[in-house]
Amino acid sequence: MSERCLGHLKVLELCNLVAGPYSTKLLADLGAEVIKIERPAVGDDARRRGPFLNDIPDQEQCGLFLYLNTNKLGVTLDITTETGKDILLELIKQTDIFVEDNPPALMEELGLTYKDLRAVNPNLIMTSLTPFGQSGPYRDYRAYQLNTYHAGGEGYLMPIMSPDDSREPVRGGGLAGDCTCGLSTAIVILAAAYRKGETGVGQYVDVSRQDVQRTMVLLDVAMYANLGVIRNRFRRPLLMPLPMECRDGYLMMSALTDREWGSLVEFMGNPAWADDERFNQWLSRHMSGDDINPHVQEFVGQYNKEELFHRLQDSAIAAAPVNTAEDLLKSSQMEYRGFFTEIEHSKAGRLKYPTAGYKFSKTPWTAERAAPLLGQHNEDIYCERLGYSKEDLVSMREAGVI
């Protein structure tokens, strides 16, 4: 077995749904030991969001949960009970990094602030990832991914080139919002870990999902603040800003530079309409979409997307088909790079999973284990690590502590 990138780090996770669990998944997939704490009986809400294997709702066969929790160990614990809190503190003693996403007021009420936890582990790194951070008037506000996405400001800009000004702004697709928050949080966790590696000293990190989302539109913010440009999602006459329709689907192409534009015109057979001096200079060309796009669309409409994609790229024009999940599973590029890997799970069976966008030469992404069953590692952690007896476990289970 190859060496793990983060094999020296121990992480304790008390998170729910997407953003927090994704941050620690990134660490677990690179070899950190991540112990995930879930509520007894119900577990992470992601277990109930689907998609479910064969469409049969089952908290152990939920695609979202399985995906977000690969390579983690799982225990159940009710931290609101006296015993539960004591056990949490024992786990805190043995960890390097504690990641949590609970309402700040709840953590204060339970006596689980950084100040409290540092008393049991003076060199602890603690990261709180909450919708609006640990300060400010919205600190205690609630938010799902939809809300932080729109509060962050990108939603207001989308769909770009909206066909209808009267319609609502929309969120980014998939898990774009919360996974970005998790990814950004993983960076700062590892920054704190690096610092601790140099000095031995831990620290507290406060991350707001709204702040992360806002940084994703930092250039639009800079345009407003420094150039006075107010951006919205309404239509503008830009050069090929949206995918175009091929015979069998959509294709995105960009001809930003003079060289790319020249290549595209040549590729289309030097049509007469393209001979226009406004199109020779990038800025005026870029603002002449209304005069260019319909012609290009007419040309593109004769082709199949895959064929045109390769032919355009062969002519050094940036292009890409609009892929669905099915297309990605069938992508020869992703297959070559091993983007999907199979993982065996005791309930869900053997399934493919997406891995990561990066390949490390010495410490590759590895699937050591599938996502944990609810409470799967209670005995390993509570008995072997913390020294509780199996009888203790039984009574804690009966009391609803684990």
Partner: protein
Amino acid sequence: MTALEGVRIADFCWLWAGAYATDLLAFLGAEVIKIESMARPDPSRNMTLTIGQAFEGVDHSPIFNAINLNKLSVRINLKQPQGVELAKRIIGISDVVSQNMRPGAMDNIGLGYDVLKELKPDIIMLSSSAFGSEGPLRRYGGYAPSFACYSGLAHLTGYSDGLPNPLTGSIDLMSATTSAFAIIAALNHRQHTGQGQYIDLSSVESLAIFAGDALMEYIMNGRVQSRNGNHDRIMAPHNCYRCKGEDKWVSIAVATDEEWRALCGAAGHPEWVNDERFADAYSRWENEKELDETISGWTINYTHYEVTEMLQNAGVAAMPSFSNEEIFSDPHFKERGLAVDVEHPAIGKQTVLGPPWRLSETPARVTKSAPLIGEHNDYVFKELLGMSGEEIERLTAEEIIY
């Protein structure tokens, strides 16, 4: 004191997907030396296509400034063999090399990983490209919209009756954030083991990861998810609702019956609770169109702030869909201190966004504006490399320092 104090990065990155990766690490205290030249300036120094604006020379772009904060810049002409040798001297005293040229380009100029690891055995090198540096599509190029399309995110973004939507410049920043994560993971590994390594990052795959639930849905059930505005697979209401004012919207997301009852009460419409179309989560989801019309009929009478406050006071997740203009007057945004002013030597006071994290011991922050091109020639060539004034003059005359 900073988290990445003592880490030096020789940065060959450009454009947004490259620049923001090392910007994040510079916020954390890494010394980032941007290696560029008048023979190959970062195009974002000259112009922005997003708003179709050109800037005077290479030192007057607020956009370049916003995404290259804290960095240093040296002018080295990599088209000259002596320039490559000079770049190697910087790499020899660096911990990380980052670059996002087309696959093979760094090898072609003699700066491939094989060469660099001879020069500095524990070097960490990140190569970021559209499709990754191996596989059948490795030579294919791309910009943010094509990353969004190939990755599957565009297919999942937009109205259900509209075109696939390629999101915004955030696509570049998400890829860049993935690069920063990969680098900092490798830094932690090197700190622990003394070993460097090579990281091959694909922007397309870094984004496909964010479609994880759609990928799992296809893998598990063979079903292809498609874009559907703000709607959710199980939650309703889950949308943006028009409020009083011009193009003002509030996002509302409800998961449970308890939250739904709270919404009805806060809206002053307790009778909605008894409406059988909305009686339970599944009914609400199934009758979402009527549900959205009903809620919009209420929200339109209030500002998005008023709706947010009423709902949040009742424990319901709601937030305005903020524009970049109005976020600046938002009290919470002000308190979080994400926007800071920085003095730029050529264009004066600029408002930029800093990092989205608050670290208690080693704050991440904006320390200076983006560099003028070559602004730090003296510091790097004289102080770091110990070059003489004559040597620098000679290399300048020969257009090596260019």
